[in-house]
């Protein structure tokens, strides 16, 4: 596993490993699973469907996962999205979709580059 690649992709590898008792194997498996996680897609769907409730649900899920896996940027953005939606500002949360997309793509590209 190439830490620098993952770090460049927006993953705080040390933080994640700290949480997973230093198990790179576990982290690798979880990162692999992350690619299968549908939360991000569901968020995009909710944005497309203009469904704030579904958006909150998806963002919340993605927030939990990205937090656990120390995907700093993704976690930040989803946290903000959740706060905005809770505060009733769904349009502002939707506007985060692009930024979130790029953060998500970086993470995804990094994971794929590591062939996990």
């Amino acid at each position: 596993m190439r830490h620098e690649v993952l770090a460049a992709g927006g993953i705080d590898v040390d933080d994640a490993l700290g949480r997973l008792m230093g198990s790179e194997k576990l982290l690798a498996r979880l990162l692999g699973k992350f690619l299968d996680d549908t939360s991000y897609q569901r968020f995009l769907d909710a944005v497309a469907a203009d469904d704030a409730e579904a958006g909150l649900e998806a963002a919340h899920a993605l927030k939990g996962v990205s937090g656990n896996l120390s995907m700093v940027r993704v976690h930040e953005l989803t946290t903000r999205a959740c706060e905005l939606i809770r505060a009733g500002d769904w349009p502002a949360a939707r506007a985060l979709a692009d930024e979130l997309g790029s953060a998500y793509s970086s993470v995804k590209a990094a994971i794929e580059a590591c062939e996990l």
Binding site: L20, M21, L30, K33, F34, G64, G67, L69
Partner: protein, 853 residues
């Protein structure tokens, strides 16, 4: 007052309507005069024509009577000759018979009798005697005839002595001899050949004798009433009542009639009466027209008057209003900018003394210059020159004006000047009005001053906030830099396990410091936006405080400081928020430890002040640390005023603890005070009110649900072998938690949503599940709902199994929701393994302890 004004207004109105009223009066006079003249003329005409008529009938009557007179004269002439010739009585009687025959023949009346007195002897033809043997010389006809000898006379109508019928006697006395001859004529046999068709409709004609006995009547009156009517009429004629053209009477039918008469030579009357309605018939129409015109005229006048009155009233109201408005101004001038003149409507005493009520406008400006400051006046002169006013009007600039200082006596006061105009009402003219606005202006200036001050304050506040954020950023950068640096060091020296461990420990410290700082900032932010909520639940105050104090006691010992704690609360069960109370204690104690050196002492004393409906509890935390300067002391609870604090080297905390503590205590209804002396020590005294909690049967609730930090760590051994039900809908999160817990020897039972968790718990053997971990947000059934469902299950362990919430939102509200759902604790996402294990350990240990006898 109002009546006075009304009277004045009415008088004014009448004054203005003078001409109209005069015209009306003239009209009325002319109409009445004209009417009277017309009436008189009509009456005169009628009089003339009716008199002519009566005369005509009189002459007609006369001519009728002439026949009788001629016959009688013939008779008297004959008898005179015979008496004169002294013919014997027989031949006289013979002649008399013959004569009577002729009379009867001529007059066509067989009933005519002739009688008379000749030389004192009664002569009678056709009548046995003259009745009752009375003396004929005493009879009316005899007397009348002898009075006027040689003239035939007619008697009035009288009743015939024999027949009783009305009769008129025609008699004549001879001039030469003593002989009177007479015969009777019955009125009904009068041969009146009047062309009565000449009489207009409604006009009556009467012929009567001198006593008013009707001889002939052509009238609409009831025949029975004619006799008394005529008798009355004639008596009044005799009295002279019916002289002239306007003689009239009201007849029995109530009709007014003009009376015209002619007296015949024999004393009879020929009377014509004409109804006034006939004479004046057209006049009434004329009168009606006049009256109608008058009424119309009057109505028009009234309408005009009312309209005028209303207009006057409206105008007067306007005038009054304008006057009231004018009172606001101490000076008002009409300025004609075309002619360059002014007219003083109202002037200040000063100006009135110096210039006349009218004059050239420059004079007014010059006078103004005497009371306006020189610089201001130049501007004033430019703005209110005739030229500028003209351009203002041309440019339709409304309500032009401004404020300036004007000298009143010795003092300058603020005055407002306005240029007002209405070019449609008064072209080339504007109203220049001055109003004193000193008080208003002073207030405005004062308000403006306050506003500026407020702005300055806001600016200061903004700046101090800015400083706060700068300092915060600095404070955050410090541990962050340490973490980065140490991480780099650690990764470089991976071979040296001891060094690495040391780096990691320090990294951990810095991380926690940073986390504390951020938590504090978030707390403050929430407090500032008023989003902090407080629970009101049953708690053991003494136990909560002891739990909160315990970790610090250990920490103090480790740091070589003496620590003493005394909790004296006779009524420990109160309603309150244990988490917030712990937070207050944490802040106070960590502060005390932070500013003390090894060898110093920290003491906590909790006492109950009041007992009763609301208990008051005093918490005193005292230390013998470095203390605070007198200058700083007042700012200890302020958020944005601690620049120097953030700069000092010894501060290891965020420095936000005290403001947070103060805010918490205040919101709990309590107070906090601080005493401190530099290098001697600090004492914080917190006083908090708590309502006593109602007694509760189950003592199980003595537990303090709180973030399970600072619990004593007895090693992971407790968790080994424990069975934990884990509900989490996300695969990755589930795997992480499962892995971590498995690593600690926990047997994990997985559930993918709340419902599954409830089902799994329900399916387990009682006591088989040692703890439940519930993610807050899950499909099908969320964490709170699942916790409530588990607690509601009918089995012995349903109420006591520890339930821990896993939530991404560690806000007080969320925590309160988990507490309300019956959960014992909560841990934040991303999961901190140490915190999770400690929480589970303490909860399981307490339950086991509780289970022990």
């Amino acid at each position: 007052m109002a009546r006075q004004r009304g009277t004045r207004r009415l008088l004014g109105l009448l004054g203005r309507m003078r001409l109209s009223l005069a015209v009306f009066a003239l009209f009325v006079v002319m109409a009445v005069t004209g009417g009277l003249i017309l009436r008189d003329t009509l009456l005169q005409n009628a009089y003339e024509s009716n008199t002519a008529l009566s005369r005509y009938y009189a002459s007609e009557t006369d001519s009728n009577l002439v026949t009788y007179e001629a016959l009688l004269e013939f008779g008297t002439a004959s008898i005179e000759a015979r008496v004169y010739e002294e013919q014997p009585w027989d031949s006289i009687e013979e002649w008399a018979n013959l004569y009577c025959e002729r009379l009867r023949t001529v007059l066509g009346n067989e009933n005519i009798n002739l009688y008379g007195v000749v030389d004192g002897r009664v002569l009678a033809v056709g009548v046995p005697d003259l009745g009752e043997g009375s003396d004929p010389t005493s009879r009316a006809w005899y007397r009348a005839a002898t009075e006027r000898r040689g003239e035939p006379v007619f008697t009035d109508v009288y009743e015939d002595a024999i027949t009783g019928e009305p009769v008129v006697t025609v008699a004549e006395a001879c001039t030469g001899v003593d002989a009177v001859l007479a015969f009777d004529v019955y009125p009904e046999s009068f041969q009146f050949r009047f062309a009565t068709s000449d009489l207009p409709e409604g006009v009556s004609y009467f012929l009567c004798d001198s006593a008013g006995v009707p001889l002939y009547a052509r009238t609409g009156l009831d025949p029975a009433t004619v006799a008394p009517y005529l008798a009355d009429l004639v008596s009044r004629i005799d009295a002279g009542e019916f002289e002239g053209h306007d003689a009239n009477l009201v007849d029995s039918r109530g009709e007014r009639r003009a009376v015209d008469y002619t007296r015949l030579s024999n004393g009879w009357y020929s009377v014509v009466t004409t109804p006034y309605s006939l004479i004046l018939g057209d006049l009434n129409t004329v009168y009606l027209v006049f009256v109608a015109m008058g009424v119309a005229f009057l109505a028009a006048l009234a309408v005009m008057g009312v309209r005028d009155w209303r207009r006057t009233r409206a105008m007067e109201r306007t005038n009054e209003t304008v006057r009231v408005l004018g009172n606001s101004y101490y000076a008002i001038y009409l300025v004609n900018y075309d002619e360059g003149t002014y007219e003083m409507i109202k002037g200040s005493d000063y100006v009135r003394d110096r210039i006349p009520p009218r004059g050239p406008y420059p004079d007014l400006l010059r006078t103004a210059s005497e009371v306006i400051e020189e610089n201001t006046f130049r501007e004033f002169e430019e703005s209110f020159s005739a030229e500028n006013i003209r351009s203002l009007v041309a440019g339709r600039v409304r309500d032009y004006g401004g404020d300036f200082l004007r000298k009143f006596g010795e003092r300058y006061r603020w005055v407002n000047v306005r240029v007002l105009y209405d070019e449609s009402l008064a072209p080339d003219e504007v109203v220049l009005c001055f109003r004193e606005v000193d008080a208003e202006k002073q207030r405005q200036l004062r308000e403006r001053h306050y506003l500026e001050q407020a702005l300055d304050t806001a600016q200061d506040s903004l700046e101090s906030k800015q400083a706060f954020f700068n300092n915060m950023s600095h404070d955050m950068r410090t541990p962050l830099n340490a973490i980065i640096g140490l991480t780099e060091l650690a990764s470089r020296d991976t071979a040296d396990a001891e060094k690495t461990a040391n780096y990691l420990r320090r990294i951990d410290q810095s991380s926690h410091q940073l986390l504390n700082l951020i938590n504090d900032i978030l707390e403050i932010s929430r407090m500032e936006s008023g989003k902090v909520s407080f629970a009101s639940e049953r708690m053991d105050l003494a136990q909560t405080l002891r739990d909160a104090i315990a970790p610090f006691e250990m920490q103090a010992r480790e740091q070589g400081k003496s620590f003493s704690a005394r909790v004296d609360a006779p009524d420990p069960w109160v309603l309150g928020d244990p988490m917030r109370l712990s937070q207050v204690m944490n802040n106070l104690l960590s502060n005390a430890l932070k500013y003390t050196e090894p060898g110093d002492s920290v003491s906590v004393a909790v006492t109950q002040e009041d007992r009763g409906d609301v208990g008051s509890y005093k918490i005193v935390v005292a230390d013998t640390g470095i203390g605070m300067s007198e200058e700083y002391l007042p700012h200890v609870f302020e958020l944005y005023a601690r620049e120097q604090r953030f700069g000092t080297a010894q501060t290891v905390g965020t420095g936000l603890g005290m403001p947070i503590t103060k805010s918490l205590v205040t919101q709990m209804g309590g107070s906090i005070e601080v005493e401190s002396t530099l290098d001697v020590g600090t004492t914080f005294t917190v006083t908090l009110p708590f309502s006593p909690a109602p007694p509760e049967d189950a003592p199980a609730c003595a537990a303090t649900p709180s973030v399970a930090a600072g619990m004593p760590e007895d090693g992971p051994s407790l968790l080994a072998g424990a069975r934990v039900l884990l509900a989490e809908d996300n695969e990755i999160n589930m795997e992480i938690a499962s892995e971590l817990l498995s690593e600690a020897g926990v047997e994990v039972v997985q559930a993918w949503n709340g419902q599954e968790a409830v089902d799994a718990f329900a399916a387990s053997e009682p006591g088989a599940v040692d703890a439940v971990l519930l993610d807050m947000k899950m499909p099908v059934m969320d964490g709170c709902e699942a916790a409530r469902a588990i607690r509601a299950l009918d089995r012995p362990d349903a109420r006591e199994v520890p339930i821990v919430a896993v939530t991404a939102n560690a806000f007080a509200e969320d925590v309160a929701a988990t507490t309300a759902a019956g959960m014992d604790a909560h841990v934040s996402k991303p999961i901190d393994f140490t915190v999770l294990c400690r929480t589970l350990e303490s909860l399981i240990a307490r339950r086991q302890g509780g289970d022990l006898p």
